[in-house]
Amino acid sequence: MSTMTGNLRRMVLLGVVGALVAAGAVKLARADVASDKPGAILIYPKIIVDSNGVLGPPTDTELQLTNTSNSVVAAQCFLVDSTSHCSNTKTCTNAATTTCSSNSDCPADGSCVATACTLEAIANGAGPGEGGCLTGGICVGPCSPKVAEVDFRMTLTKRQPISWKASEGLLNFPCTSQNPGGCPSGQSNTGSDGSPSAIRGVQEDPFIGELKCIEVSPGDFTPTSGQDPANGFAGDLKGEATIVSAAGTRVDARKYNAVGLQSTGANNGDDTLLVGGPTPEYNGCPKVLIVDNMFDNATVETHGGNSVGSVTTNLTFVPCSEDLATQSATGATLQFLVFNEFEQRFSTSIGFACFKEVQLSDIDSRPGLFGNNVSIFNYAVQGTLAGQTRIRPVPGANTDNRVVAVSEEFWSCSTGPDGTCSAATNVNLVPGTGNGDVITIAPE
């Protein structure tokens, strides 16, 4: 079948689909947020770049994105920088522990920038260049004062996969006119308006943040539903992120699927994307998230009793609602319900803006190691190894303030770069109706 232009094909098919739905001949079933099906919005909740090992071991993130359909598609992506910075400390980009006040204080080619920090590192006594700040400094962020995002767009040919490192991006796509390899039938990654596809690297190093990719029309780059009838036009994008750490001979890797928001088939192409709610353009974010976790500092016997490992768990949350046009931070309050293997129930809550990465035991205690042993997420309190945690975002007045998340476990490990080895998984999702969430993007 020859490839029709996206606009014409979509108009024809949507018109008939609508007629057939009305006639009851085709039953479009409701789809949900999923990380195992293609979608029209992809969310990668956690991207880390830390080439010099400031906040942990040297780390980069390898991102994969695929057009699963048999049509040319396009995507507009938003890279949101959620790195926190010290209020009173600057360090050199090429000498992480060297404090400075201007570029001239840094070794050649270095820049003097606000120091990246984390509350946990400060609580644990780390200094500048190791996640901490100079005395008296505050770790500010994320997304303070505004959401720091950059966006880029790409055109993908039929069923094309691409991959790139978050640190570098991808400036030359495989199927460009300059590439001698070319692609079948002369297909190109150059946009219909002649613009080249390009993915930029992250804004800073260290970087921690998220990536959102929205399927747009390859004709005019406005948000659109999917093009593949095989999945009910729910969306054509799928993706994965692999967070890789390495030092010397030690390597660690963890991988998760990007979360896909499926299109409902109705999309007016404007810059306000309605996620769930009474008139959704995309299916709503989950009402409840469920995490099966090992309680922090649980020690697990394996290998017939010949090996023991201890484990901690981090959760990373990003809000479904996001105002990328005015770059205003949105957030949520999360209610946690925790069950142990005795069915005993505990609860707690936290609030956050823009982005939240937190170890379980820090949810109801101070950041850092202090107080972890009295946290309801800690084995020392629970007494059993495994738990179930149900996470419910508290709805706001106008939006549901829902979130998506990814879970990471860190196990004691002799072959990990920092003595730990990690694994990532997507969390379970429970759908539910509500007012919906809104993603606002800047006009093209």
Binding site: N231, V251, Q388
Partner: protein
């Protein structure tokens, strides 16, 4: 001009209607699909290992506010002769062991494949590995086990119950401490079913035929459990491609022979002998697939012939096929006929690839999981591997309207019904 407009509209609608007719009944993404992130009535852990080096920690949770019973089946698919690699002359043994699990409302539980879990009133009430309400006696697996675990929600009389209250995760842990984790694949049950399923031979015949055309919302309410996916969508890095991240982060990535007849350090492919590949920090991906259809009553494993269509970043397309007899767990370069393997970097030439996995006509479906392995290379050898498991994406369902691959293109095919036959209680 005024007369032409309605004609043009009708022409457009007519053309599109003709084009769309074959798609009527095609499964779209729906809540009836198998899922890795929703609770279900059947959960499948496609990759469970206890081989002395890697062990598996299983976690299962009852997500409902009612007591839950589940009947679980370990399927040992280790080759008949453990001294030789799996193959047509050394097939999987398909030994099945089953046991019951009881969970109270919202209760999570866990066990380790090598150790199982034994009821013990004292240790259950003492903080430690065994603490918690006992889920029942869970047998350990024998060393050398590689296979799957399937848990089916049942009622108190051990009859299948479509309650959608099971979720699970598996953590694969190496002796070195490296871990990788994946979510169990959950099959949704039709909780509101009132009609009988004409495709079922009895209450122990669990039919995987729940789709939008057979559910209680938009269909005829005869479907029982999620139909198997029609196509698995598999993103992976090409086999033996050099890891672009590890070396940049400062790890050792000296060149070694990754493939060929020789081992050790090298400077070019020719140093590695015939078929040699010389590179640093190679990436390897292992694919694990299990058939959806299984007959535990008569001890008959499922067998599915599957076709792979692999596309690289230049959209160039290659294909191969293989048969999943009971269980498949292979590195990508061991899938299909040897020579010019379509999964390898040497053949594809790009780092990433996209593979569509589709069963052959009249074959049931498969589900699975992938696992990626990365390592540093130094002193002519590979360092310890870092593993990362991830779920495969799904498209369509095998029951409503299957597809098959002809000349590298998807074409419609007749639907296929998968069955899981469980033993009589």
């Amino acid at each position: 001009m005024r007369m032409l407009r309605p004609i043009r509209i009708l022409w457009t609608l007519g053309l599109a209607a003709v084009g769309l007719l074959p798609l009527v009944g095609v499964a779209s993404a729906s809540v009836d699909d198998v899922s890795i992130e929703r609770s279900g009535s059947i959960i499948v852990f496609p990759k469970v290992i206890w081989d002395g080096t890697r062990d598996t920690i299983i976690r299962i949770t009852n997500t409902s506010n009612s007591m839950l019973h589940a009947h679980c089946f370990y399927v040992n698919a280790a080759p008949l002769n453990p001294l030789f690699p799996p193959g047509p002359t050394n097939p999987p043994q398909w030994n099945e062991t089953d046991f019951d699990v009881w969970l109270t409302r919202q209760q999570p539980t866990h066990w380790v494949a090598s150790l199982g879990r034994f009821p013990n009133a004292i240790s259950e009430m003492t903080a430690g590995d065994n603490a918690g309400f006992s889920p029942g006696l869970i047998p350990p697996v024998q060393e050398g086990f590689i296979g799957e675990l399937k848990c089916i929600q049942v009622d108190a009389s051990d009859m299948p119950l479509r309650g959608n209250a099971l979720k699970g995760e598996a953590t694969l842990r190496s002796l070195s401490g490296d871990v990788s984790e994946y979510n169990a694949v959950a099959f949704q049950g039709n909780t509101d079913m009132t009609a009988s399923d004409p495709r079922s031979s009895g209450p122990t015949d669990l039919v995987l035929d729940l789709t939008p055309s057979t559910d209680s919302i938009s269909g005829d309410d005869t479907g029982q459990y999620s139909a198997c996916p029609d196509t698995l969508l598999f993103d992976h890095l090409t086999q033996d491609a050099s890891d672009p991240v590890i070396g940049q982060l400062g790890a050792d990535c000296s060149s070694i022979c990754i493939a060929g007849t020789r081992e050790g350090p090298c400077e070019s492919d020719s140093d590695c002998g015939p078929g040699g590949v010389c590179g640093g920090c190679p990436i390897s991906t292992e694919l694990t697939l299990v058939p959806c259809s299984e007959n535990f009553e008569n001890q008959l494993p499922g067998s599915v012939t599957i076709q792979f269509v692999v596309r690289n970043e230049f959209e160039q397309k290659l294909s191969t096929s293989t048969t999943v007899s009971c269980f498949l767990n292979l590195p990508l370069d061991a899938i299909g006929a040897p020579g010019n393997n379509p999964f390898t970097f040497a053949v594809q030439g790009t780092l990433s690839a996209y593979t569509r996995i589709t069963p052959a006509p009249d074959n049931g479906g498969v589900i699975g999981v992938a696992e990626e392995f990365r390592s540093a290379t130094f002193e002519g050898t590979r360092g310890p591997s870092a593993a990362a498991a991830y779920a495969l994406h799904t498209e369509g369902n095998r029951f409503d309207a299957a597809t098959t691959v002809l000349n590298g293109n998807n074409v419609p095919a007749a639907g296929v019904t998968d069955h899981i036959i469980v033993p009589q209680p």
